[in-house]
Amino acid sequence: MSADVELNNISVTFGSFYAAKNVSVKINQGEFFSFLGPSGCGKTTLLRAISGFLDPSEGKVLIAGQDMAGIGPNKRPTSLIFQNLALFPLMSVSENIVFSLEVRGVGKQERQKRADELLDLIALSGQGDKKVHELSGGQRQRVAIARALAIEPKVLLLDEPLSALDLKLRQKMRTELRAIQKRVGITFIYITHDQGEALTMSDRVAVMNEGELEQVGLCDDVYDFPHTPFVATFVGENNPFYGKVVSVEGDKIRVESHNNTFVAKSGKTGDGKNHSFSTGQEVIMFIRPESIFIKNENTQLDNTFKARVNTVEFEGNIKNIYLKINSKMNVRFSVPNAVDTSNLSNNKDIELTFSSQKAVVLPKGSLAVD
């Protein structure tokens, strides 16, 4: 069984401080939905409001259409996986997993059966008698998931459950989490500050900043069509070109920046329409590092600019090349590792090109600082 979750204009205040502000979103039944945002933006606060540990100062939480006001966390059809897992160290793995059944008075044999089922689900069969501290980080992770699934919640809430794991394990657990979600078919609400995590696992993401939702959408939409400068820079890498609008032709915006004139598509607003721009307006044009190419006979797109190579940085699967335009503006672009960059010596002037379809113009606003 699965349920949808609706946040209806939720605000959470601590004193006069808004940890969450006017958050409205509808999460579909069976969806893997992520809240993505920097540390301290109010993700945990929102999750606590959904699970019932915290009452929103304003607004409503609806689960399967039912208003959750006045219903405590132990009565909601949700299960929460904590940032630090919060497994019970004095109980065995099995006891942890079926604790929720124990408190509901389910008999011992029945519990044992269910524990074995869940241990199978998380690929820890036969390890139920171990103590929690005898497990590895990834195994503990899976025990926390099993414990949360034991009561068959309709919604599983996960608060950065992978953040304590090392990179390799984290990537493995992403796939595993997604697989578990597919198998049990319930709604997952996932919280993370790691955009890679959010984009690989989720059906949809909501990007948060300072307690407010910046954008909600499919992963690729959020990546390709950011609605705000914050989203453009928080999700993935981006080069911000500050400039002024020269002309507007439909959704094609001509922008002057650092003595170059570029053509780019207009960014969209929350309701799917184009932003309206006027000539002379201060804007930011965003172009991602992987959308910029070195110009040559084969590669010539509708925007070109000249820049000087500053440094070439090796990052494994890709190489990052840092450039300067007019010895002021920093631009970064990246090429796959296989591309030969031996001719890109420092201080060499090169010509670059990118497609207007890949560049997005947005009204000036604050970026995600990193």
């Binding site: 699970s51 540990f53 405590g72 966390p73 132990n74 009565k75 949700t78 299960s79 929460l80 904590f82 940032q83 630090n84 919060a86 497994l87 019970f88 004095l90 109980m91 604790f99 929720s100 124990e102 408190v103 509901r104 414990r147 949360a148 034991a150 009561i151």
Partner: protein, 269 residues
């Protein structure tokens, strides 16, 4: 003192002489009321002894029931500031000497004491209740005397519990009672054991509070020991009685360790 307890009570001149041999007379006296005959049991002393032990256990349990909610509140519910305030409020009365505190309680509980006066003035009762004769004053005094020794080990133990575990238990549908039973108490058992041992030992060995607050016909075992040492000038018998009390305390510690399955190191910590 252990040695002394096995020696006869002799005038100083004869000590170390031929009569100064090891003997069980004092323990015999405790059981039979006489050093020679074994006809009758010493009901008075044994009665006082058992009464002391049972009351001390009762007081310990009472203390635990009373302090656990306070310690839990301070550790997990209260905001840091109000928790600190509560700690101060608990400590300040203990700046006063134990004897004076007992007298203060006596004033509260006396036949025409504060509590009776209040109860009468609100019309709850007609005549004063004799709290002292009913030993209510004694129990209250003993419980209150070592409250800090119970609260602090409990507080320390509960404080170290990850609050997320409480929330996790709640999220999994656990009732408050069950969360305490399955999560908090197992986590705090070393603190509970150490609090109980300390309170038991000190209660069983208390002197000032029972002297001031017990009813005229209730004796505390320490009062007997005191009498043998000071009034009857029989140090070896006083020693024997002290050893008895000590043994019970040790047994109690071992029992606590057994019940709570903790090691001695954990209790002391």
């Amino acid at each position: 003192m252990l040695d002394l307890s096995f020696r006869p009570n002799l005038p100083p001149l004869l000590r170390g002489g031929p009569d100064d041999v090891h003997t069980l007379v004092h323990y015999k006296h405790f059981i039979f009321g006489s050093e020679t005959s074994e006809d009758a049991y010493n009901y008075v002393d044994i009665g006082v002894f058992l009464n002391t032990i049972i009351t001390a256990i009762l007081v310990t349990v009472l203390n635990l029931c009373f302090c656990y909610p306070i310690a839990f509140y301070m550790a997990k519910v209260a905001k840091p500031n109000s928790a600190r305030l509560l700690i101060v409020a608990l400590i300040i009365p203990f700046w006063i000497n134990e004897l004076l505190r007992s007298f203060a309680l006596r004033i509260l509980f006396a036949g025409e004491g504060v509590i009776n006066n209040i109860l009468i003035s609100i019309g709850f009762i007609d005549t004063g209740i004799n709290f002292i004769a009913m030993d209510i004053a004694l129990y209250t005094g003993l419980t209150y005397a070592y409250i800090l020794l119970m609260i602090f080990p409990l507080y320390n133990a509960i404080e170290s519990l990850d609050t997320n575990q409480l929330e996790a238990a709640k999220d999994l549908g656990s009732s408050t009672f069950r969360t305490h039973w399955r999560i908090v108490i197992p986590h705090a058992k070393a603190g509970i054991a150490s609090g109980c041992t300390m309170v038991f030992m000190l209660t069983a060995g208390a002197l000032a509070t029972p002297v001031v607050l017990s009813s005229p016909n209730t004796y505390w075992f320490t009062q007997l020991i005191y009498q043998w040492f000071n009034m009857n000038d029989n140090w070896s018998r006083g020693s024997a009685y002290s050893i008895l009390l000590l043994s019970v305390s040790v047994v109690f510690v071992l029992l606590m360790m057994r019940i709570f399955k903790v090691k001695i190191g954990e209790i002391i910590r």
